[in-house]
Symmetry: D2
Subunit: 283 residues, 4 copies
């Protein structure tokens, strides 16, 4: 009667901490793993026949078992290992998606760690039995420039009240994902892309956050030949200059309100002209 459209199912947010011990020196990987499977799933939806359903509980178990058997290196490699396993061992599964968040820790001595609090590293991989797609990224990388940002010459209408400015604070919490063309040294690639984002934000004399976004995406592509496409979602975290004139004080770009809501939201994609088709990479 009705049609079953696109669907997938899996276990979300399996929290895994993997310790590796090399003598006195311990290493720590702290991950949040989510897997989703899709394929021949009509029966379970239409009649509740679970014969093709690998339970989400089993997916969780696989995460932990693989962490032991194979260790955990770069998140991208661990995600690919899991995705390949689900597709290659389950006849009904046509496509697997594995997403991982990784939290950074800093070493203190042999076996003590302080969570760094820096941005969250992310990866999303897909595998369909033949091809794989790898997207890496980060979120909550919070950046701020105290100057070298202008905003003027914009379109106006009867609802315009914003004044033009030649000097403002520009701040954002970077949410970025980038698609790889092939395999890579994922950890080095990550640090290179992260550094490119920061350097482009810091180094761009900005006339608009859109311009900065394009500069950030372009810098990643320039510095990382292994990456073919970058998607950025940049909230414009407004910092409003406080009017201190009622108190007989000037405010030469010194005192700001950091506002919560509303915020601007600038979203955009930068890619190579010859980027291969994305397939399911962004789903």
């Amino acid at each position: 009667m009705f049609v079953l459209g696109p669907n997938r199912y899996g276990k979300a947010e399996t929290r895994l901490v993997r310790v590796t011990k090399h003598g006195e020196a311990h290493h720590l990987k702290d991950l949040n793993v989510s897997s989703s499977l899709s394929g021949d799933m009509d029966a379970v939806h239409l009649t509740g026949d679970n014969a093709t359903v690998l339970p989400t509980d089993t997916q969780k178990n696989t995460v932990y078992a693989f962490a032991k058997k194979h260790g955990v290196g770069a998140s991208e490699d661990f995600a690919l290992l899991l995705a390949r396993h689900f597709v290659d061992t389950q006849p009904a599964v046509r496509l697997a998606r594995v997403a991982i968040e990784e939290y950074a820790w800093e070493r203190r001595g042999g076996h003590s760690f302080v969570r760094s609090g820096r941005e969250t590293r992310t990866t999303v991989v897909h595998y369909d039995g033949t091809s794989q797609w790898v997207v890496s990224g980060l979120r909550d990388l919070v950046l701020l420039n105290t100057t070298d940002s202008e905003f003027w010459g914009f379109a106006t209408d009867e609802y315009t009240t914003l004044a033009e400015t030649r000097d403002r604070v520009l701040a954002t919490a970077v949410n970025a994902q980038w698609r790889h063309t092939g395999s890579s040294d994922w950890d080095k690639s990550y640090e290179r892309a992260r550094e490119a984002l920061i350097a482009a934000f810091a180094g761009t004399y900005s006339l608009s956050l859109q311009q900065t976004l394009y500069a950030m995406g372009s810098r990643v592509l320039t510095d990382c030949p292994e990456i073919c496409e970058v998607r950025l979602s940049l909230p414009n975290k407004h910092h409003f200059l406080v009017d201190l004139s009622p108190f007989g004080l000037d405010n030469d770009n010194e005192v700001y309100v950091a506002a919560d809501r509303p915020y601007g939201l600038i979203e955009g994609t930068v890619l190579r002209p010859d980027a291969p088709a994305a397939g399911p990479a962004w789903e």
Copy 2:
């Protein structure tokens, strides 16, 4: 050198409370409005030329001015009014997206209100100068059945430890969106769809959450001829039976742990065979 791909920008989370007074009786609409515009935006990305950019600040002002000029009825109508305005008045804007969250309040006397805390109602509309697309929905509608849920007959492998069950708690926090074919009495449609979701969840003897998902989507389509497609994202909020045998106690489905993470995540679409093409509706 690099290509600017899909992009959009706007003001997110403009918080609007609109009071309407009919004599002693006051009415309240409590909304969170986000607008996004796209179109001829190459220049601003490539050179920082803002000539085609209607500032996000102006978009915010428009929300407030329209709330005064036109009042706020159903969220869908208010969203369409805004989307049409942006496209029809800004030559560079080819597509507008307006998303609204609405929070429900209950009246107490003439001018006093208690926030109800029930689920958040949502809408996302698109307008391209010719056509409009309307998606309505809700999130955080938390449902639980204490029985009439089984899970067995699933695929197994070497990582399977889950026992089959013939009686379990089934709980979810419904995240649903549905696409309208045309215009509608949006408020009545919303209550009908919401009621269909609850009734289908409560009334389905469930062999899997996928089966329940399909039943929920189908029920919305059955009860709401104005809707052509339903997308559901259902976390399986696990309730684990506590093993009380170490204390000499049985547990006949009476005492549960409500777990946070990980959780199952079941996502699926149910649509009419003749549903029109979705266009940008889900973007």
Copy 3:
């Protein structure tokens, strides 16, 4: 060398769902239980000798076992049962504190439930082997009046810019706790106190949120003879009138911004003149 001062330890946020079945009709209690014990705990702090430490894991087990053995009625009764158990069975424990949050659900048919989303009900009890103290309360009861609120005649100084107002929106998210003199029908007492808070907020023509706070506390004491003290923490959730004059529009208390931060915060206590000493009740 250094002194060990006040200390306690326990298991926080044990999530318990208790189902009770009376034929076809099922009942649901959804709780978040935290226990803390204190007493002769010098050795564990100074030398790591755990002989007097009842592990937090055992405290968690006790919550689940008691839910089975004794059922779960009013949160206050369940908390007292746990507190008495820990003090009465553990020689080293001199004082137990049990805090419970309760989430409300609405029935749909025999065994289906919708989480209501209304405020969270709370309780904190203490027991020292002889005496018990019971505090009940709620949080996130969000209330709003669209009129009958003024604010003027306040102190001014060189940093004052606020204009006086004779008509404003007044909104808050009530965080209230009230101390009982003795035992009570806790569920009825809760509904009576909750209703008193709402009625006083709605019915007070307010010249300041402090005045409203005192009225709310007084109403609870008036309507609930079993309660001797009320503590309220009321954020003043500012709703700012939008200046629409740049658009040629007036704004006769119709269009508001609901602001996030900063917010006013009004805290106060109302108690009976003959309220008994509070002992550890508020710790």
Copy 4:
């Protein structure tokens, strides 16, 4: 009829970003400021007479004006400046409390910054017209040891199921506050106390988290003569060893589940024998 008990009011979470420019090098302070005043406030509660009420809006303005006039050095100094101002200029105000959260940023070049994400630094000061009390602290300093933690020899009862362990992961998110005896170089004192907490956590061979707590508090007092009392609230962030035996795998403290809830919660105070009376410091 009823008694007005302890009360205070103020503006919470005033978000302040203060930029200071020394030639090309910019400096950034990012604060969240909350002030609370108490004193002769009977009239406003009982009759709504606001004559003694300095509006919370004015308190907010004062934060911004003082940031301009006096600059922002250590949070403690800025908080004291504000507290003194409110008490010294408002006859009705007997006690002021100013609490500040501070977020750390790292410099990148002259005017670009990356939010560090490390723990939040806190301060709470009180001033009553004569004396001042300064408490400094931090929250969300997340620490983890992969070994050198045992837990055994604990009290048992009929609800005990926990196995003893001679080697476990110990992890916590430190929430600490410490009271100063006098004035200090607050920034240096903060780094010294923070370092003491980390060093004591990392360096203590732990038989219980209580023992570690005492060691952390003691280390702060040892390393910081300017501090007389330390209060610690340490969640025991459980990391459970995954049972991999169903998959024919051992787990030699390598693969863990990082659990959310429930968690242990260990709270305690360590102070000097001659610590002066705390007065309102901890309120």
